[in-house]
Symmetry: C2
Subunit: 171 residues, 2 copies
Amino acid sequence: MQLLLGGSCRQLVMATAASLCRRAHGQAGEAGVPKMLWKLGRLNHIAIATPDLKKSTALYRDVLGAEVSEPQALPEHGVRTVFINLGNTKLELLHPLGNDSPITNFLKKHPSGGMHHICIEVDNIEEAVADLQRRQVRCLTERPRTGAHGKPVVFLHPKDCAGVLVELEEA
Amino acid sequence: MQLLLGGSCRQLVMATAASLCRRAHGQAGEAGVPKMLWKLGRLNHIAIATPDLKKSTALYRDVLGAEVSEPQALPEHGVRTVFINLGNTKLELLHPLGNDSPITNFLKKHPSGGMHHICIEVDNIEEAVADLQRRQVRCLTERPRTGAHGKPVVFLHPKDCAGVLVELEEA
């Protein structure tokens, strides 16, 4: 259900949908229950923090034979990235860039590197955030922000997601 | 290139291929360089260890709206599993089963749960293991074993894979 409505009407629809969200997700397709206003999609990538970007790239390219991208510096996000193409999804190698990288502390705790987060696509991130907040799933920012790939993203609190840092990205 | 050869001939081909592995993987398709005897495939799943299987299943099914499987007990592997279908790949929730579960220690170190391993498909696991051992990528077992889903698998040492426990599974 795609909604192209004015402000007050849209709010009414959202409020009605919100009250039915729990049932709608649990019993999708039930007669009389509107569908959710957003939908979870495919796994976009698994982010892996590494202390040695060259060595990790060489492992996937030269030893495992995967297709890898050129390194890309994203100074505004404090990371240098390399993507590993696995056909159905990607691994994203992350290495700290600059003095204020979000990866630095992770690598202090995990000196050999490790899985940092998973990123799952959604079709409407604003609706997803509003819905998750109503359901007491904590988002790390109140509103979506522009992520490393230029799309709106939000991170969910690992304590609410089986210890996993989950990024939602609008596809 | 699929090989259906007798013992000594096969060994000769493997030895020749091994000496060219580094070039072959780095420069796939170059004239005169044989292709690898095995190939990396798609991401099969991300395994997430959780201290509360019901709660984690409910998060993905009822809050995020994903399609989830029924729980499955795999006593010979010491785990109870639930699969989350993301369309292009799966998450595999893991919970300890029995007194000798491989997940118990992980959850002691990560009481909220967390990402345990990633599983990538290969087309020929025997060739993959032989090749990786030649390249000093450590496998946790000398030979492939039958994994939780009835297929031959091997785990690679996290210290050789950017801190990530990587499972290879013959597709």
